[in-house]
């Protein structure tokens, strides 16, 4: 039977694209708050024996956890065959070790909650950082998709004279792939962290690239500190105003305003988190993954 798509609030556009592209059904439900702040939830569609594609990006995750948890429990009680959580932005990937004694390693706790309520997780460029694989924290199968291909396409179409600039050595692999597929050169910054917040970057020799448009890429734009510092270095080196591309538009606090004021030509993000800079559509890569029907058979 066809899978059935259920989108949590705020994910309707992506869900609709998935429904049309893979010819899935749409699940109807009712989710509201009682006047005392408790959640009321009711699934209206017949979901028994169906494979559920649950679309919920996990930016600002804390308020989303309880409805998600109740919904997954309810779907299981309604005897669904499987629940595949499609979460373009996955939260709680950054606190992946105890920096100080007594700290909660929240990436593990969050992963164990999701692993307990879903059967499979599809996400895009999770911030793995110190971890090699999602398997280290998630006990369910995870499909990690990459936005590199769609970022390359965007660069190729919009900035043919780009010099792609990656934020650190960890990112070298995907940044080189982005540059290669966009058929443009790339350089990688040296990043030195001083403590928790202070980050210094050193920009490599870019004198030979003065005719290029610098394109800074990163998986998450959060505080944007590294990007802002890099913009300043590039300006001092006499380069053009850069374009900044991020997969996930987190933009913590004033980061967006600060980055805009730093002297950038443009800021572009993927729509894994809704933001006015969204210009690269991630639905294509999610649909490609979901079309692989064996995903459901494997569960």
């Amino acid at each position: 039977m066809k899978p059935i798509v259920l989108s949590l609030p705020g994910n309707e556009l992506l869900a609709q694209k998935i429904i049309v592209a893979i010819q899935a059904d749409k699940a109807e439900y009712e989710l509201r708050s009682f006047p005392d702040g408790e959640t009321y939830l009711r699934v209206l569609s017949d979901v028994a024996e169906r494979d559920i594609i649950l679309v919920c990006t996990l930016y600002q995750p804390d308020s989303k956890l309880l409805p998600l948890l109740f919904l997954c429990r309810l779907l299981k009680d309604l005897k669904v065959k499987s629940i595949c959580l499609v979460s373009p932005y996955l939260a709680y990937m950054r606190q992946d070790k105890q920096f100080k004694s007594g700290e909660a390693v929240t990436s593990g706790y969050f992963a164990s909650v999701l692993s307990g309520i879903c059967d499979r997780l599809i996400t895009i460029d999770p911030h793995l950082h110190r971890r090699v694989s999602m398997k280290e924290i998630y006990s369910i199968p995870c499909d990690v998709l990459h936005a590199a291909s769609i970022i390359s396409k965007w660069i190729k179409a919009n900035i043919p004279d780009a010099l792609v600039i990656g934020p650190d050595s960890e990112s070298e692999q995907w940044v080189s792939e982005v540059a290669k597929n966009a058929e443009v050169p790339f350089v990688i910054l040296e990043k030195v962290r001083h403590g928790d917040k202070e980050v210094k970057v050193s920009v490599p020799q870019v004198d030979g690239y003065k005719a290029h448009t610098p394109v800074l890429v990163d998986d998450i734009i959060s505080t944007a500190r590294t990007m802002i510092e890099t913009v300043s270095h590039l300006k001092n080196a006499g380069m053009r105003a850069p374009v900044c591309i991020g997969v996930h538009a987190v933009f913590a606090g004033n980061a967006y305003a600060d980055l805009r004021n730093a002297g950038v030509a443009k800021i572009v993000t993927c729509n894994s988190i809704t933001h006015e800079t969204n210009e690269i559509d991630i639905s294509e890569i999610l649909i490609h993954a979901l079309r692989n029907k064996t995903m459901f058979n494997a569960l």
Copy 2:
């Protein structure tokens, strides 16, 4: 070793009373939001091998669940001996069956989350309604305490000419206990529900009590509809303006203003939920229960 008390934000006063009364230690911790909305949590005290008394009333529960869940997971990782959750108001007790197909029976889901993260639960007058015992939904030991004794004391001290009025036949047992200990008479309303929201009450013969002050009591004042309707019936019957007493001051939406405007003499609640009507202190009955040291030995 002495138990150690950890109070989640908003529960500091009650926690401090418990610490003083049972000579417990106080656990220090850090809980804050990252700019991207994720929670940071660090326990600063040495909690290994300790019995934890975790104080967290669960009014407006949705935003409290994730920090509570992370905190309990962290405490377990820090090798505490046991976690006893002291929750004067327990949420999600009202959706205890499927009224319509596809509805989430959230009382069970919430109970299973709490049962999975704590070792014991202490609460006051949970709204059991269709359930006989907490054992039907909670798989951990639950100590259900009752505010009847402190409500009796308050009535005896403040309204010696009270006529206690209970909302429905379900409440007869505790209402009769409240009245008996306050040494005043009582009557019970007949309550007929028409659908989900409409409630009709019929007030029994109260002609013989015109020299009494009617004191309406209920476990939760939520929408306050029954109380408001009863106030109107009592007025028509020529009774004095009543005093309204609730254990839990939920006051959904405009309920508080509506009840005040209905012609009541006074509204009084216990402080299981912080509210300006709090006049009856529940710490005494919680402390009495916590003094029973066997509670921890039993875990």
